[in-house]
């Protein structure tokens, strides 16, 4: 019998690594280098790389700056982070209102 593989990380919700992984995914999706995003965000390449690895905890202000460096709205970035943490599909607002 095939067992369903559930990654424990997803459920314990390691926020810091999810933030880091999401930032890296967003950067790669745009084909941007660490240097390019770091410059736009006014942080060092080393600091951005540490955040992407989940080693450093970015403040909300830094997260805002990085969003700027990625040229994405910080609200959009937070939605991406949230959906990376919670694998369950989000119920569309219209459906929940209709229910």
């Amino acid at each position: 019998m095939k067992t369903l593989e559930i990654s424990p990380d997803r459920h314990t919700g390691d926020l810091l690594s999810t933030i880091g992984e999401t930032l890296r995914a967003e950067r790669n999706e745009r084909g941007l280098t660490l240097k390019q995003v770091a410059e736009g965000a006014h942080v060092s390449v080393s600091y951005l790389a540490e955040i992407e690895r989940g080693e450093k905890d970015p403040s909300s202000r830094v997260l805002e700056s990085i969003a700027g460096g990625l040229d994405v709205e910080v609200s959009e970035l937070l939605v991406r982070i949230a959906s990376a943490m919670e694998p369950a599909p989000v119920v569309p607002v219209t459906n929940s209102l209709a229910a």
């Binding site: 941007l32 280098t33 660490l34 240097k35 390019q36 995003v37 770091a38 410059e39 736009g40 006014h42 942080v43 060092s44 390449v45 080393s46 600091y47 951005l48 790389a49 540490e50 992407e52 690895r53 700027g68 460096g69 040229d71």
Partner: protein
């Protein structure tokens, strides 16, 4: 001092990615995670060595010397020019080596790429670098980007002719 440029090697990229700068210049700190982008052929990263063969800095030419805010504003399409990016080894900065270092990179780029002009984008807080660029003939074109707390914008775009060497003016 004579400086020599050559295409970057992995060993040099690894060394450069570990360089750490003091104070406000820490925004230029690298990371091992960026080694691969330093080795990306289209970014044209070059190592710079002194007469003893010691690694003293790097240059990049083209796309990685541009910043996103400038791209978005179309500043790099206004005039044809080769964008120049560079960095010196942290212990060598602030000692007056900058002009000779930059001149060596421009000389190499002139011979190798025959560009119509040189352009660079520098952070406005980095007055030390701006002085060096002015010293080798770069002129300010415009500032752009977000407005800093100091009231000035983030970036300064500078340009100079590719061919003409600026006259040597002895410092008083």
């Amino acid at each position: 001092m004579r400086y020599t440029l050559a295409p970057i090697s992995r060993a040099d990229a690894e060394e450069i990615s570990g360089w750490r700068y003091d104070g406000p210049y820490s925004v230029y700190n690298g990371d091992p995670g960026s080694v691969n982008s330093l080795l990306e052929p289209r970014f044209l990263y070059h190592s710079v060595r002194d007469e003893d063969g010691d690694l003293v800095g790097y240059f990049c030419f083209g796309d990685d010397a541009r910043v996103s805010a400038g791209r978005r504003l179309g500043l790099y399409d206004a005039k044809p020019a080769l964008d120049v990016g560079l960095g010196m080894r942290p212990d060598l900065t602030g000692h007056g080596f900058g002009e000779a270092f930059v001149r060596s990179g421009l000389r190499f780029a002139r011979k190798t790429y025959s560009p119509p002009a040189f352009r660079l984008t520098v952070a406005t807080f980095n007055r030390r670098a701006i002085r060096v660029y002015e010293g080798v003939g770069f002129e300010s074109v415009e500032t752009f980007g977000a407005t800093r707390r100091t009231g000035e914008k983030d970036w300064l775009l500078m340009m100079r002719d590719a061919e003409e060497e600026p006259p040597y003016i002895p410092k008083k």
